[in-house]
Amino acid sequence: MGFSTVIRGRVWVFADDVDTDQILPGHSMSKPPEELGKYAMSGSAIPDFPTKVKCGDIIVAGFNFGMGSSREQAPVALKQCGVALVIAKSFARIFRRNAINIGLPVMVADTTGLQNGDEIEVNLRTGSIRRLSDDWCVTGIPVSAVALETLEAGGLIEKVKRQVCGNEGRGLCSAGKDHKDH
């Protein structure tokens, strides 16, 4: 899958308290999972985000990004439409866990000063953020070792698979083989 801990991309700026209804409105939650990207941030201040975002873009936001619902469709939609990383001053608990679990990196940093369209390079291991145009720098909180492990595995399910099938249940695994890829 090639997960990299150094991410370079173009910035989209959002404010404090971006809730999950802004990230993925309730009416779109029942859509088939492969269509969720079309609704990413469609309840936000940038409702046409899915048509503007490019693969590898980075969201930077204020405090409490992802507050509200447990809907995992929210980080899934962001990942699907191409968002490579979300940086915020803080995250709501469930969103933060969901994002890591599905393989969308999230990092805590104060990026006040960045503007829409800025190109930045982020090192998840060190927490360093650098704007490419002028070498403006800031250091956030490095992504934890446990979270990196999950991200590098390709998400929580891959990690659980290794746990369940690697240690205790090698024989059990083949029983569910038909579901492995879907």
């Binding site: 209804d21 029942s30 469709q73 709501a92 866990r97 659980v160 698979k161 369940v164 099938c165 569910g176």
Partner: protein, 395 residues
């Protein structure tokens, strides 16, 4: 250790825990609904094991989109039913009601038990002293496989309740007073432990309502204790129930709380009474007391969404639904209704809604240009009659 920590230690089979400890909890009950379960099921299949950790400890509830308003929603129901048949898991799929209320009616919520739910309002179970941990679909799939959840022991904030509620206040006003105190991120990742003599005067339903909205403060756990005092918490905030007045969360944040008296007079166009926050029998009763013999104002729509089938049956038996119908309410089937903006009473540009639900984010009930106020059933019902936001006069 405080009471929450005691139960976390017990579940993880260690003698002591402290804030920051990474522990692994044994889960007593796993729950998901029709918005979160289909994705969890898909992820569970990817793990590739032949069964869930214990099919008797799993409950799936179809409550968000029922009866199916779209073909996609129906597809999700069928995915859940098939999964249930395959693994011997109970799927409540006939409109029994909102998962949090149904769990309570099934007697599944024991003090100190660990409930993992793929819904942010899983904290509602804290009204019983159960520890409700909200997760997303993937983490739920992992719990279905292992029966365990990794958990970092949170710091605990104590909320001491004193006194008794005034007549025109209820559990919702207590919940809103917590949001007034802490805002929407004041308790991020914390456990909220509610205790004190004031708890004794609160019904189980009111305790559930208070816990239900602890997630709106960012909390990891909401929990009601029956103890009169509490040690081993980071801080204690005291709320004197005698001094509460009806509160309302103004557009567009649950943390934007003000006394109803300060914002009274705002003209409204739609009222929603119900949901896992305030759709219980006592909430319907509270609304019916206000609406008895009166009519909903012209050009105002009142939608009542009972939290469960049992609530409907009890309210019918007590004549409460007749009172609501006479007043001009439409009563939907039990479920989540319009709370999360999928069906059964959406709001359009320019709508001003008073709702007893738990979130008023922009676009939560439909249009981003609708305004939503969150209030108690009494405030909502009185406002429905007045056609504007008013305090209820209850004797």
């Amino acid at each position: 250790m405080n009471e929450i920590e005691f139960y976390l230690a017990k579940s993880s089979k260690v003698d002591r825990v402290a804030p920051g400890d990474e522990i692994s909890l044994s889960v007593d009950l796993v729950m998901a609904h029709d918005v979160t379960a289909p994705m969890a099921i898909r992820e569970f299949y990817k793990i590739g094991i032949p069964s869930v950790f214990d099919h008797r400890k799993v409950l799936l509830v179809i409550d968000h989109c029922y009866p199916a308003p779209t073909v996609d929603a129906r597809t999700n129901h069928r995915t859940m039913q098939e999964f249930g048949r395959r693994y011997g898991i109970t799927v409540l799929s006939n409109g029994e009601g909102v998962c949090h209320q149904v769990l309570s009616e099934m007697g599944k919520l024991e003090r100190g038990s660990i409930l993992v739910g793929a819904d942010s309002h899983t904290c509602t179970a804290g009204g019983y002293g159960a520890i409700g941990i909200p997760v997303g679909s993937t983490e739920l799939a992992a719990v279905l496989a292992t029966g365990k959840i990794d958990f970092e022991v949170p710091h605990t904030v104590g909320v001491c309740l004193k006194g008794n509620l005034p007549l025109n206040c209820s559990g919702k006003d207590v919940a809103l007073s917590l949001l007034k105190e802490f805002g929407v991120r004041g308790l991020t990742d914390k456990a909220v432990l509610i205790f004190g003599e004031g708890v004794r005067g609160l019904t189980i339903g009111q305790r559930m309502t208070i816990c239900n909205m602890t997630i709106e403060t960012g909390a990891a756990i909401g929990y009601v204790s029956e103890s009169l005092d509490m040690d081993d918490v980071d801080q204690i905030v005291t709320i004197d129930l005698n001094r509460l007045s009806p509160l309302v969360a103004c557009p567009s944040s649950p943390g934007n709380v003000r006394p109803v008296s300060e914002v009274a007079g705002v003209p409204i166009s739609q009222v929603v009474i119900g949901s896992c926050t305030n759709g219980r029998l006592e909430d319907i009763k509270e609304a019916a007391r206000v609406l008895d013999g009166r009519k909903v104002a012209p050009y105002v729509n009142l939608v009542v969404v009972p939290a469960s089938r049992r609530v409907v049956a009890d309210a019918e038996r007590e004549g409460l639904l007749a009172v609501l119908r006479e007043a001009g309410a439409v009563i939907t089937n039990p479920g989540c209704g319009p709370c999360f903006g999928a069906h059964q009473g959406l709001a359009a540009d320019g709508d001003v809604v008073i709702s007893t639900t738990n979130r008023n984010f922009p676009g939560r009930m439909g249009s981003r240009k609708a305004e939503i106020y969150l209030a108690s059933p009494a405030t909502a019902a009185a406002s429905a009659v007045a056609g504007r936001l008013v305090e209820a006069e209850l004797r």
